[in-house]
C-alpha cells in the first residue's frame, strides 16, 4: 500500500492548487484498486447487478466527499467496505424492500458462470446464506479481509467471526457433498 505514501510525501512541497489534483489522483487509485471487490461484494449482498453498481457508485462518491478524513491509506479498504455496507443499509431504510425469495429467482450470471451443477448449486447456497454468515464469508473471500479485520468491520469478536466462517463454509460444503454424491450416484 505504498501506492499513496509516495504522494503523501510530495504533499509537503505542494501548493494548495496541486492539492486538489492530488486528491483526485488518490481517489482514482482507490477506485481502480477497490471498485472490483466492492462491486462483487455488493452483488452478492443484493443479487442485482444494477443495484450493486449503484451501491458502488454511491460508496465511491461518499468516499470522495470525505476522502480528507481518510488519513491512513492502509485502512482505505476497511473504510470503503464500511461505507458500502452503510449504503446498503440505507437502501433498505429508504425503500422498504419486499424480501425476495432467492429460490424464486434466477441468480444472475449463474448460467454463464458455469454449466456445472456444483457451481450452480453452490451459488444458490451462497445466495441463500443468512446475512450473518454471508457477510463474513464475502468479506473474507471477496474482499480478502483477515478474521481480525472482519471482526472489526462487523463489530464482532474474532471467535464469533471464526465460528461464522466455519459454519458458512460447512453449510456450503455439505450441500456440495450431497450434490456430488448424488451426481456420482447418477453416473454410477
Amino acid at each position: 500500500m505504498n501506492l499513496f505514501s509516495r504522494k503523501r510525501n510530495k504533499k509537503s512541497d505542494s501548493s494548495v492548487l496541486l492539492d486538489m489534483n492530488r486528491k483526485q489522483k488518490r481517489y482514482e487509485a482507490l477506485v481502480n484498486v477497490y471498485s472490483a471487490d466492492l462491486y462483487r461484494f455488493a452483488y452478492w449482498i443484493c443479487h442485482d447487478p444494477d443495484i450493486a453498481q449503484d451501491l458502488v457508485q454511491e460508496t465511491c462518491l461518499r468516499a470522495w466527499k470525505s476522502l480528507d478524513s481518510l488519513l491512513d491509506d492502509k485502512s482505505a479498504k476497511g473504510w470503503l467496505f464500511t461505507i458500502l455496507r452503510r449504503e446498503n443499509a440505507r437502501r433498505f431504510e429508504r425503500k422498504q424492500h419486499t424480501l425476495v425469495d432467492i429460490e424464486d429467482h434466477d441468480v444472475a450470471d449463474s448460467s454463464d458462470l458455469s454449466q456445472d451443477m456444483d457451481s450452480e448449486l453452490l451459488i444458490r447456497k451462497i445466495s441463500g446464506l443468512a446475512t450473518e454468515y454471508k457477510e463474513p464469508l464475502l468479506l473474507q473471500l471477496v474482499a480478502g479481509f483477515s478474521a481480525e479485520e472482519i471482526a472489526e468491520q462487523l463489530d464482532l469478536n474474532k471467535n464469533t467471526v471464526l465460528t461464522r466462517l466455519f459454519r458458512a463454509k460447512n453449510q456450503l460444503k455439505t450441500s456440495l457433498t450431497t450434490v456430488t454424491t448424488k451426481s456420482e450416484a447418477s453416473y454410477g
Binding site: E28, Q57, V142, L162, K169, K173
Partner: protein, 237 residues
C-alpha cells in the same frame, strides 16, 4: 490445539499462521491434506464469487464523480454570479439614489423656466391676493422679511424646485405673470445670472443666503420686481 479447534480453524481460515496451527500441519500429513482441501475449497468459492464486472466499472465511477464535481463547480460558479448580480443590482438601485443626493448640478434658470411652464396655467387661474403677512409667513423660512409690498402677489407657496424646497411666488407683471423663486443657497445649481428661452426670460440674484430667481415674459421688465425684492425685503445673512 485439539482436533475440533484445528478443523474449525482450518475451515474458517486455512491460511492461519499461528504457531500451534502450523505445528499440527508439520506433525501430520492428514492435517496437511485437510488444510489443503480447505484452501482448495476457499479457492473454488473465490472463483465462483468472482463474477464478471460491468464494463468499465471504474471509468463509470470516475465519470460519475466528475459529473458531481462539475456540478459543484458550476453551482459554486453560479453562486459567484449570483453575488455579482446582487452587487450589480444594488449598485443599479443605489446609483439613482446617490444621484439624488449628489446630482450633477442643473442650471437654475432652466429649472425655473421649466417649472413656470409646467405650472403656468395652474398659477394663472389662482389669485390668492396675498398680503404682506402671508408672504412673510412663507419668506421667514428663507431668513427674509418683507417690510413693504412687493407687488400684486397672486400666489405664494412652497414648491419642489427639482428636489429643493423653494418659495414659489407669482406676481402680476405688466405683460403677464412674473414668477419669483427663492431657492436656498446651499442647493446645488448652476447659478446663471441671465437666461431665456422662446417664451420666457429670467435673472438670478443672490440675496441673503438664497438665490432669487425671477422669471417673466420675454418682453416683461423684471427690474421693478428685482428692485422690490432687493429693497423691500430684509435678508438675513
Amino acid at each position: 490445539m485439539d482436533d475440533i479447534l484445528f478443523r474449525h480453524t482450518a475451515t474458517a481460515t486455512p491460511n492461519e499462521k499461528s504457531e500451534k496451527f502450523l505445528q499440527r500441519l508439520a506433525d501430520s500429513d492428514s492435517d496437511k491434506a485437510f488444510v489443503k482441501q480447505a484452501k482448495q475449497f476457499d479457492a473454488d468459492l473465490q472463483a465462483l464469487l468472482k463474477i464478471d464486472l460491468p464494463d468499465d466499472l471504474s471509468d463509470k465511477i470516475l465519470l460519475e464523480q466528475s459529473f458531481v464535481l462539475e456540478n459543484e463547480r458550476r453551482t459554486s460558479g453560479r453562486w459567484h454570479i449570483a453575488i455579482a448580480a446582487s452587487i450589480a443590482f444594488i449598485i443599479g438601485i443605489s446609483l439613482p439614489l446617490l444621484n439624488n443626493f449628489n446630482p450633477s448640478p442643473l442650471d437654475i434658470g432652466e429649472v425655473a423656466m421649466q417649472h413656470v411652464k409646467a405650472e403656468y396655467y395652474f398659477t394663472a387661474q389662482s389669485n390668492e391676493r396675498a398680503d404682506l403677512k402671508m408672504v412673510n409667513a412663507k419668506l421667514a423660512r428663507y431668513g427674509a422679511k418683507a417690510h413693504d409690498e412687493l407687488g400684486d402677489v397672486t400666489y405664494v407657496n412652497y414648491c419642489n424646485f427639482k428636489g429643493t424646497p423653494a418659495l414659489h411666488m407669482v406676481m402680476q407683471g405688466e405683460k403677464g405673470q412674473i414668477t419669483v423663486f427663492v431657492v436656498p443657497g446651499d442647493a446645488n445649481f448652476i447659478e446663471t445670472e441671465k437666461f431665456n428661452n422662446q417664451h420666457l426670460k429670467g435673472i438670478t440674484e443672490k440675496m441673503g443666503n438664497s438665490n432669487v430667481v425671477i422669471v417673466g415674459e420675454r418682453d416683461e421688465s423684471l427690474q421693478t420686481i428685482q428692485q422690490a425684492m432687493q429693497n423691500n425685503i430684509q435678508w438675513e445673512i
